[in-house]
Symmetry: C2
Subunit: 576 residues, 2 copies
């Protein structure tokens, strides 16, 4: 039996998965929780006296190596597998998660002289302190009508590579200067495994403004942001970008010792967690959208030619699969909205009824909401509790619930929130189709589909698309293992292409959710209402959400609490 | 010491209050809970096999007499008062609460032959089953451009006198035929007390389309609704309407026996609970609005000349005080919204925190909400959980909450709901002022002001008006006692006018709520946003609320539960 290992580096932990290359059967998995986790208040010991500003989020790169040292030997041991049977390794990562290193790949934070400088550490994807830099990057790109900007829905995020890079340069020029390389953590781990620096086309395309046709933005654009940045690509990155699906190199003796694998085992080019889920969900060509549904949702579609889709996160050639254009869109809160609702807006009576029924609150609300017909709640929501990623690309938008009466109960609101996220998905599907990118059906993966049949049925009913569900509960690690098998090639017991690997190793569940014809007309009607509200509040006709945010920020800035006479709740000095 | 008794007939109980005529001091009060309460499912024993349709709400008139027999002797006993010192009696009632009787005032439901017929019973104010009749009354009035219609904001309610009357005629012609009189319960109780049928100008004006200048609508209008209704005024009512502030008659021997009072004690013309609160709040002239704030809010203003105020409930000469025009407006849900929120949308953590702080949930949320500055919640709501009474007069509107994020917590929503009701009040104040009816300050009474200082402060800040609070916790009963004192007259130890009674007997609290100048600008801004949403969703620009209601009604009509494949919450037959 030939095996492949996929390693999925997440936000709090890394997971290794050992897979049968011939069938995709998952033989063993192991999770390694990062010792230093998300570093967002102070640096780890012995430097815990260094406090971080709000919106910072760092990681310790040694936690990634410890994952290799812990989780990989664990899966081999659990499965009783012979390391010689492992034909290839692949990894995927959160992104953009990046760090500064020396020319040999040593992280600056691992060097005594730099370790007390926060900018020497890994900047995690959710490090949001580079918003001012992102704002300037966007402003200059708009001003210069940079041709790459439309590929990213007209706006890049504070999370992306050059936002973080510019923040390092501006706030810690010494670190910027000391960094021979600025690199995605995904590529850094592959470098540690193979001894060879490789830059993958997925993170380069989706996070670092690279495209296969045009390369990186021009030097004079970077120079316009800061003269010291003009040569950033040649100084700190690389113009050589390797497509997804390639081999990055062979396992070094040192890395073989860490992992218990055989030196020389092929290692795939690194990938991003959401994107590597596409082949793991059985999708290798156009027409089928993969929806990675969890706290937020990421929508991935393949196309044979570029297209400008309104409000997408990016379109990247070789970004998801080699030789194809990968489109990414997203909803910035999905599971997060339901979790918010359950924690902050469901009354004790429903908690008690759930317990009495032997259900968790999610399960109870789902059961109750399932007894309502489409439209029966009388409610309509806009799913903008965390802004809108696609298609409006506007973080300043906020949530709306309309239609409440004295008879409205929690399960009806729960259903309306599910429906709102489904309408948001339909808008994205429509945007793709309007741009000529087909979405005939959807394969869902991630944490939500498994546990929420009502949600899946509503998504099918609202979008008019069949929703299938990936069989694996850990599609990123499975996808990485598949890329590991491709790095090995068929001659070495792997596969020669990701399409072949997908055919052999990826499965979707037998059950699927088909649109219920009886529900389609009423959801068409409600979707029309959703769209009207979406355009009204999202496209500038009534900017009340933005104005409320401005008023709110002013209220917070102008004082840290209530005005005199209010805090006591008894009128205080304003009563007389 | 000369005394007066006021009796306030509410929805679930009646309250008697014994008051010192010289000072307004409240000596004793007693509550009698109606044995048959609100009859909304089945008739009382022995006729409990008769079930009522939804939206029905009846009462038993004998419960009113039992209130006279129970509560009045109780207050005399509690105060150790000499019945001979009681110089007058006044009563107030919910309205429109009406019943059919024989020519001598015997309720038809008290006659064996009729008692199993629901239409023979008292129709309580919140009997809402006459909506089809109200719709036809409104349609014909609009078609004929009836001159009385604008006095009622262009629309009358299913609760009003002729909606209920027409329902009796259409659904039970035998009862309509057997009824020699159709009469407000308020006037019926005064009839029982005095032996004389008297119709008060308040209910006649606000509920039965009467005006001092024009009388009732013409016979051909009634005939247009139904030929049998053409002579309803002369057949079943009376064209003699007695102004508020008059005496209705003297206590009969029988009623003296019920109450323990002296036969011949003067009895005032009946009144309505909200309206009688105006003099009890110290208001006897223009410029000061009385806000009766409880589950809903009723706004009452006096004026020296008629005016057409958008969306008011009615303008009636002699409707509140003799010789003045009484204007009434209303918000259909206020305390009800807060109660809904606390029961159905506050999570267990806040309930627990309230208990830990030794507060009820209202008190806890108020304390937490008070620590937020105006605008800090980032939220804006439309207070239409029970439709909109003034100024849109539209029961089909519904609630809206806008601005929610993942960081939104219950106290912020609570504050936004309070603010929404305050904005609704400001719109009403503005509508009065726009029509030339001055509202310089507000006197609040009812259940809410006493317990909710934050709410009162927000109302002052939002409206820019000083809010004072009536001293009495039972303004309706106090107002009725004041009218009882006026029925007696100064020569008999009472007062010669309601103005004199008010000067002597009504008080407001020393504390008041003045607008906080620091809060005015931000509330002006938020009010502007509220108004835009109000007009957008309330004036036809986007009728999504009405369409959601239509969709909802269709969903309920078309099936009693979920479609196949949903109820089980596991996809059922739509999964394959």
């Amino acid at each position: 039996m030939k095996l492949a290992i996929g390693i999925d580096f997440g936000t709090e932990s890394g997971r290794a998965l050992l897979v049968d290359v011939a069938t995709g059967r998952e033989l063993a998995s192991a999770v390694h929780t990062y010792a230093n986790g998300v570093i967002d208040e102070r640096l780890p010991a012995p430097d815990e006296d260094i406090r971080l500003e709000p919106d910072w989020a760092l990681q310790d790169p040694l936690d990634y190596l410890r994952t290799l040292q812990g989780a990989v030997p664990a899966v081999l041991a659990r499965a009783g597998a012979d390391p010689a049977d492992v034909v290839g390794i692949g990894i995927d990562f959160t992104a953009c998660t990046m760090l500064p290193t020396t020319a040999d790949g040593t992280p600056l934070c691992a060097i005594r002289e730099f370790r007390r400088e926060p900018h020497a550490w890994v900047k995690l994807w959710k490090h949001h302190a580079a918003q001012p830099q992102a704002d300037r990057i966007n402003a200059l790109a708009r001003e210069r009508r940079e041709s790459w900007l439309p590929r990213y829905g007209g706006k890049i995020s504070s999370e992306w590579f050059f936002s973080k890079t510019l923040q390092i340069l501006e706030e810690s020029p010494a670190i910027y200067h000391a960094a021979d390389r600025l690199i995605e953590a995904a590529d850094w781990v592959v470098w540690r495994l193979t001894g060879v620096e490789t830059r993958n086309s997925c993170t380069a395309g989706y996070k670092a403004l690279w495209s296969k046709a045009d390369g990186f933005p021009p030097s004079d654009y970077f120079g316009g942001l800061d003269p010291r940045l003009a040569s950033v690509i040649d100084d700190k990155l690389s113009r050589t970008v390797t497509p997804i699906g390639s081999g990055a190199g062979l396992l070094t003796a040192e890395a073989a010792e860490w992992t218990g694998l055989v030196p020389g085992t092929p290692v795939a080019v690194a990938n991003v967690d959401a994107h590597v889920s596409v082949p793991a969900s059985g999708v290798v060509g156009p027409g089928r959208m993969v929806a990675v549904m969890g706290t937020s949702t990421c929508h991935l579609v393949l196309g044979s030619r570029p297209a400008m889709v309104e409000g997408m996160c990016g379109v990247v050639e070789d970004g998801i699969l080699p030789g194809q254009f990968g489109f990414e869109a997203g909803q910035s809160a999905v599971g997060d909205i339901f979790a918010w609702f359950i924690e902050h807006a469901v009354p004790p009576a429903d908690h008690a009824a759930a317990a009495a029924a032997g259900l968790d609150v999610h399960g109870f609300l789902e059961r109750e909401a399932a007894s309502l017909r489409p439209g029966e709640s009388g409610l309509l929501a806009l799913d903008w509790w965390n802004g809108n990623r696609s298609i409006l690309v506007d973080a300043d938008l906020s949530g709306l619930l309309l239609g409440a009466t004295l008879a409205t109960r929690a399960p009806a609101i729960y259903r309306a929130l599910i429906e709102a996220t489904a309408f948001g998905t339909r808008l994205i599907v429509d945007a793709f189709e309007d741009a000529g990118v087909a979405v005939d059906e959807v394969v869902a993966c991630g944490g939500l589909p498994e546990r929420n049949p009502l949600l899946m049925q509503i998504y099918a009913d609202v979008t008019g698309r069949e929703f299938k569900v990936a069989a694996s509960a850990q599609t990123p690690a499975l996808g990485s293992a598949m890329f590991g098998a491709v790095a090995a090639g068929a001659a070495a017991g792997g596969h020669d292409s990701i399409a072949e690997a997908t055919a052999a190793m990826a499965r979707i569940k037998d059950e699927s959710y088909r649109p219920n014809p009886a529900h389609r007309p009423v959801y068409d009607e409600l979707y029309g209402e959703y769209r009207r509200l979406h355009d009204l509040f999202g496209r500038g006709e009534n900017d009340v959400m933005k104005r409320l945010r401005t008023i709110r920020e002013r209220a917070i800035r102008d004082g840290s609490g209530a005005a005199p006479g209010e805090r006591a709740g008894v009128g205080g000095s304003s009563i007389e």
